[in-house]
Symmetry: C2
Subunit: 126 residues, 2 copies
DNA sequence: AATATAATTAGAATTATTCTAAATATATTT
DNA sequence: AAATATATTTAGAATAATTCTAATTATATT
């Protein structure tokens, strides 16, 4: 685990948001590192391959990176905002149904967030 | 609903695969239409906005389009191959937990497909 | 210190997708 | 049916995210 990789992992693990490669790059530079965007991508790929981070893709915006500790996502169908929820674990239930050994699951629940329900806005996706 | 839109919708609804815009474009041309890739994208966007098709994004490959009738997906973590499964509906269960009104959900189950379990291959993602 | 290995860099290349403005088709009104 | 309005399609440029390449720098090993 290289220094940059470690820092990137920390940034992801200590964030409550779902950061893009660009955002991670900026945070990395805020604190000391002179790493370049390509380095961030390189490290993100390798962290992802090692299973140390999650990758979340939402339509219409760049991939976002997230901790691996299991949780599910709420996606607002209006503004695209992404938030975390912790639901009762479904692993066993799903495992029983699919038969073959399952590694993990990703669940996205589509809804309209309260902000979009009230005002008409197309806020930031995070 | 324009002629092209209708044809694209038919292609998606009659396919058992998860097609990319490119693949849809090719099938559209196979049967009569002179439509161009941009037209396919235009129509896919509008069909998607109307809620008539689903959009499935899997890491490392272009978006794929799918019917709206609810089903879930198995994603092979090795070759990326995508396949459908019909599981016991979770809507009620999830609805109870999240509180706010839910529109729909997308569930992706990660596993290793039998082909990858046996031979070492990195086949097509479909 | 010399060599080997791995990481990082800069920037070009690639890929998917969207945008723009012109051209064509379809529908509507006269 | 002709004239006008509206919507759709086209071709190709533009954009944006990501990957690749080759050179450079850093780290580890002999």
């Amino acid at each position: 685990m290289t220094k940059n990789a470690q820092k990137i992992l920390d940034i992801i693990n200590n964030s409550t948001e779902h950061l893009t490669a660009e955002q991670i790059y900026l945070r990395l530079r805020e604190k000391n590192s002179k790493a370049v965007l390509a380095t961030v991508y390189n490290n993100l790929s390798s962290l992802y391959e090692q299973g140390l981070i999650r990758k979340v893709c939402i339509e219409g915006c760049p991939d976002r990176y997230d901790k691996t500790v299991h949780h599910d996502h709420l996606v607002c169908k209006t503004c695209g905002r992404l938030s975390d929820i912790t639901l009762e674990d479904l692993t066993e239930k799903l495992q029983k149904q699919i038969g073959v050994p399952m590694i993990s699951y990703d669940l996205k629940i589509n809804y309209i967030c309260t902000e979009c329900l009230t005002k008409e806005n197309g806020g930031d996706k995070s």
